[in-house]
């Protein structure tokens, strides 16, 4: 399958909404023109921003190359004492976590019993989630056990996730949950 540079850029910039499997796999096999372009830009006028690989725990440092605010390339940071500029296949593909037409960019909502998603406005969805959290917390809050032990908590909301996410988020999430009294908080470190 031949993919023109224009097609590649269109899908890689997330403008194309189609997720046809064939064309994606096809793209994986023919990157030469795009790579050449990325290299060129990196040298000429791309801006390099230091970042870190979000996959495994080795913590390989990366450089993110952008042109006009658009990510064009991500590669290993040669200064890093961990990876000395190298990356493994996953690290080398961080670019596609960002520039990927399969990526969702809208909030979706599925009503109870519904068979399809509905696109929702971001603020509306946030308002609804806050309302549900409050409702569930208030309905299930346990101030004390029958023997009088004060516990001020609920086990009816489960907060899951965190090991691939920033320290700052982990702090905020566990703080908000504990502030509310939500005690079931877990991430991938458990399993």
């Amino acid at each position: 399958m031949v993919v023109s540079r224009r097609d590649f850029l269109r899908s890689s910039l997330g403008l194309g909404t189609g997720t046809a499997l064939g064309s994606l796999v096809g793209l994986g096999t023919d990157l030469t023109p795009a790579m050449a372009r990325a290299q060129e830009l990196r040298i000429r006028n791309a801006q390099a921003t230091p970042s870190v690989c979000p996959y495994c725990s080795v913590g390989c440092a990366t450089l993110v190359h952008t042109v006009d605010g658009e990510i064009v390339n991500i590669e290993g940071d040669p200064r890093s004492p961990h990876n000395e500029g190298t990356l493994c296949p996953k690290g080398a593909a961080i670019y596609q976590l960002h520039q990927n037409p399969n990526r969702m960019t809208q909030v979706l909502h599925r009503a109870p019993g519904a068979t399809e998603w509905e696109v929702w406005d971001l603020e509306r969805a946030m308002d609804r989630v806050a309302e549900l959290v409050k409702e569930t917390r208030d309905e299930t809050f346990l101030e004390q056990l029958p023997d009088g032990t004060r516990v001020n908590q609920t086990t009816a909301i489960f907060a899951l996730g965190g090991a691939t996410l920033d320290n700052e988020w982990n702090h905020m999430q566990q703080k908000l949950m504990r502030g509310l009294g939500v005690v079931p908080i877990e991430n991938q470190a458990r399993i």
Binding site: S57, H98, V133, R150, N152, E168, I191
Partner: protein, 843 residues
């Protein structure tokens, strides 16, 4: 690892799962080090190793126990005075254990103190315990009690800490006393001979001896050996004991606190270390303090400190850590009069970890779930987890792609096969698209405890938002809803400090300022928030310091100096620890307990292994010393002292109450003071060492859809699971990525040519794999990388499967976790995903 003379990789396929880190053992190898790989499979790690020791999955304690047995009975270990000097001074080998203690050798596989489990509360019947130990008989024999009278209630809490003093442990530095730990260890492993270990593990005798000789030759004054493990050691019903067994061996070999030594935990995720330190985990609060619990004596702040702090060692400072944490939670509302808001802080009422939460969810006990960056739709005993999701009133999924957890109601296997109807699923589901790493500012903590900052390079597309944005926006809304509540139960959220709005408007409206978050984690002076804390030595227990995480204290020592942003590597050719690249907790130390890199007199053990030493007036070296900087090696211990005063200048393990490394754990573990070989919860083999088959205290959640296989012909094959280089975990970050998916498109099962011949299976044939929980299909990969093992006189087959697939994404495949069980370790509730049993048939 670059400084190691030998690296043993066990419970990890480092070359494929931590590929870039593997360059360091390879560099060591290029400089002459030996590389050993202990694993059921012959992987790319084995291919690079000098020695590959094949053992069946789950038999590592037998293997390590065999090494311990060999080492302490060897001529080299008994002949070189280094080992005795290290072990007598830096470990609890000389400490004497109380008379009541009985070992597994005496009780045929259990320790003294085993009881039926009667704990837990009615409100939370999901703890999963079958049995439990009363650990009181495991304690040291002690001299007269030295506790001071309770005295005044804090702050300051010094009187409280002094009241926790206990009698000094009794010691015999000749290591001859029959109840000294060295002798107990020696007896405990006396039957772990190479022949017995070969019988248990399936590893040939000569290979066991070769590994033992290799580590002995590469440990000592001049040489160090390192161990590396990954989830191959954690996903068992006795995972912490495997790691403890390795620690025991490494302490006996004098390999802790020294360059090129130690045990490297190769963790799986970019910030899994961070999310453990900053615990989005139910059982702990910041900096490894246990979560307040209704099941322990935690009713008040003083009760909590009394049951969790220790009079000796660095944990004597817990009042400072806890009070500074509570100040970070409740700010000005946290006062000495109200115990710094301790009562507002929720208490756990049992095990609220992943496995019991999904059991509770499947039973309709959980109403809502926020799932951010995790994919339980394909997780353990996956059909039970999805049953749980169907019982929820609401579910929020926040991720990059539409992962299985978001679409469980639409096209999960049970929906596709008609046993569940979408219309009957009453869960309200939200999907929020996420910003990715290069689109946000923030820090990760890697597996070496190092924080590294990543910068925002581009805006996220559409409605994609960062995870901090989501939690911040949720918090702002909830804070507003509770702002006027006078109800006592709402005072925690009402008083919760939430001050993360950026000073300058962010390009993405509503984004919080991550440096404000990091500042709160690292800490500042309460009355002058612009004065940041430089290190945990500055923490106070009176509320004058605010610090969420004492171990991260110092990461942001002054405004504008976020040390996780450091990017200055050491110049090429210098010996050093790259102290200006990122920032590692605690206090930017790279090797923990590094006082042990010097001998008791403070001299380097050898020129070759010089790391941290006493220069006559202070501790200095290539790393930040992990010791009181001015405390001379000759300083005596103060028997009445608290904190580090109770330790001498020659006790390197400053977090331990007795200042030494523990060969034997007198307290702290649920399943015994020493590691003992048990069979996995499911095994085709009867335990060759004891009549006790499994850990007597493992956790198991009994349900019809969580049946365990009996030892029988129905499920005779050992199965283990693992990761591939090209995919990531449940696939959420790789299966939608065309490059990676093309490299590794399909699920497969690896099996030996012998098993394939027995089952008439050819390479690439479809195979059906079954356990009592589920049955899936995969293509056969018939390969010499897998082998059958000779165990206890018979052949046992072994297969292995990667587990990255699901029904969504660019490439799809069956969910391997349909087959796993909800059964886990009693200390940490990790499931046993690395060793269970199955059957295999041509499909």
């Amino acid at each position: 690892m670059e400084f190691s003379d030998c690296v043993v990789i066990e419970g990890s396929n480092m070359a494929e799962c931590h590929p870039v880190a593997f360059r360091w053992p390879m560099k060591a190898k290029a400089a002459g080090a030996k590389l050993v790989h202990v694993d059921p499979r012959f992987t790319r790690t084995s291919a690079m190793a000098d020695v590959h020791a094949p053992i069946r999955a789950g038999s590592d304690i037998a293997f390590l126990g065999g090494l311990i047995h060999y080492v302490i009975n060897s001529e080299r270990w008994n002949g070189d005075p280094f080992f005795r000097e290290y072990v007598v001074n830096y470990t609890n080998a000389a400490t004497i254990v109380g008379e009541e203690f009985q070992d597994t050798e005496e009780l045929d596989g259990v320790f003294s103190g085993l009881m039926r489990y009667t704990g837990g509360v009615e409100e939370w019947p999901f703890d999963g315990f079958l049995g439990r130990y009363d650990p009181s008989s495991w304690d040291y024999a002690r001299g007269p009690d030295r506790a001071a009278a309770p005295g005044r209630r804090g702050p300051p809490f010094d009187d409280l800490i002094r009241s926790l003093k206990r009698g000094q442990p009794l010691r015999d530095e000749t290591l001859q006393h029959p109840r000294c730990i060295f002798q107990i260890v020696k007896r405990h492993f006396s039957r772990y001979t190479p022949e017995m270990v070969s019988n248990v593990t399936g590893c040939p005798v000569d290979r066991i001896v070769e590994v033992a000789e290799t580590i002995l030759a590469n440990s000592g004054r001049e040489r160090t050996t390192a161990w590396a493990y990954a989830v191959g050691w954690t996903q068992h019903t006795y995972g912490p004991q495997m790691i403890g067994c390795c620690a025991l061996l490494q302490l006996l070999l004098g390999n802790f606190g020294r360059p090129g030594g130690g045990i490297m935990a190769l963790r799986g995720h970019a910030s899994i270390q961070g999310s453990t330190d900053i615990p989005t985990l139910y059982h702990s609060i910041h900096g490894y303090m246990p979560a307040p619990s209704a099941l322990k004596e935690h009713a008040t702040l003083s009760d909590y400190l009394r049951s969790e702090a220790s009079a000796e060692g660095y944990w004597a400072n817990m009042p400072k850590f806890l009070v500074s944490y509570l100040k970070s939670m409740y700010g000005d509302a946290a006062t000495p009069e109200n115990d710094f808001g301790y009562d507002w802080h929720p208490k756990i009422i049992g095990d609220h970890s992943h496995l019991p939460m999904f059991v509770a969810m499947a039973e309709g006990r959980v109403k809502g779930m926020l799932c951010i960056g995790q994919n339980p739709g394909t997780s353990l005993n996956a059909s039970v987890e999805r049953k749980g999701l169907r019982q929820l009133d609401w579910l929020v999924v926040k991720d990059n792609f539409l992962i299985e957890t978001a679409t469980f109601w639409h096209n999960a296997p049970e929906v596709e096969n008609g046993s569940v109807r979408t219309e009957d699923i009453q869960t309200e589901v939200f999907f929020f698209p996420s910003a990715q790493v290069a689109e946000i500012d923030g820090s990760f903590t890697n597996t070496q405890r190092m924080l590294q900052w990543h910068y925002k390079a581009a805006d996220p597309p559409g409605d994609c938002r960062s995870d901090p944005w989501f939690t911040h926006q949720l918090a702002l809304r909830l804070k507003a809803m509770y702002a006027d509540s006078e109800l006592p139960r709402d005072q925690g959220i009402r008083n919760l400090v939430w001050d993360y709005d950026p000073d300058e408007p962010h390009e993405i409206p509503g984004e919080p300022d991550p440096e404000k978050v990091l500042k709160e984690v690292g800490g500042y002076y309460t009355d002058d928030p612009d004065r940041h804390l430089g290190g945990f030595g500055e923490l106070r227990d009176d509320g004058s310091t605010t610090c969420a995480s004492w171990i991260y204290c110092g990461v942001f020592p002054e405004p504008g100096r976020n040390l996780s942003k450091n990017k200055e590597p050491d110049p090429p050719g210098t010996i050093g620890a790259h102290l200006n690249w990122g920032w590692a907790w605690p206090a930017n130390r790279r090797v923990l307990y590094n006082r042990a890199s010097a001998d008791p007199r403070g001299e380097p053990w050898s020129e070759r292994k010089r790391w941290v030493w006493w220069d006559g007036s202070r501790w200095t070296g290539y790393d930040t010393p992990d010791f009181a900087l001015q405390k001379p090696p000759t300083a005596p211990a103060d028997p009445n002292g608290i904190g580090l005063d109770a330790h001498s200048g020659a006790q390197p393990f400053i977090m331990k109450p007795d200042g030494v490394g523990w060969l034997y754990n007198p307290a702290g573990l649920e399943d015994g003071p020493l590691p003992t070989h048990y069979e996995p919860a499911e095994s085709p083999v009867a335990n060759p060492l004891y009549s006790q088959q499994n850990s007597p205290v493992l956790k198991y959640w009994r349900r019809d859809d969580n049946r365990l296989a009996e030892m029988s012909e129905e499920y005779p094959i050992i199965i283990t699971t693992y990761r591939l280089t090209e995919h990531y975990l449940a696939g959420a970050m790789s299966r939608w990525n065309p490059w990676l998916s093309e490299l590794m498109p399909e699920l497969f099962i690896e099996m030996s040519p012998e098993l394939a011949a027995e089952k008439d299976i050819g390479n690439t044939d479809w195979v059906r794999i079954s356990t009592p929980r589920g049955s899936i299909r995969a293509k056969a990969l018939v390969t010499r990388r897998m082998r059958a093992f000779q165990i206890d006189g018979r052949i046992v087959h072994h297969v292995g499967m990667p587990w990255h697939w699901g029904w969504e994404g660019v490439v799809t495949g069956d969910v391997v976790n349909e087959m796993t069980a909800l059964v886990g370790d009693p200390n940490v509730s990790i499931h046993e995903g690395k060793a269970f049993v199955c059957n295999v048939e041509k499909a």
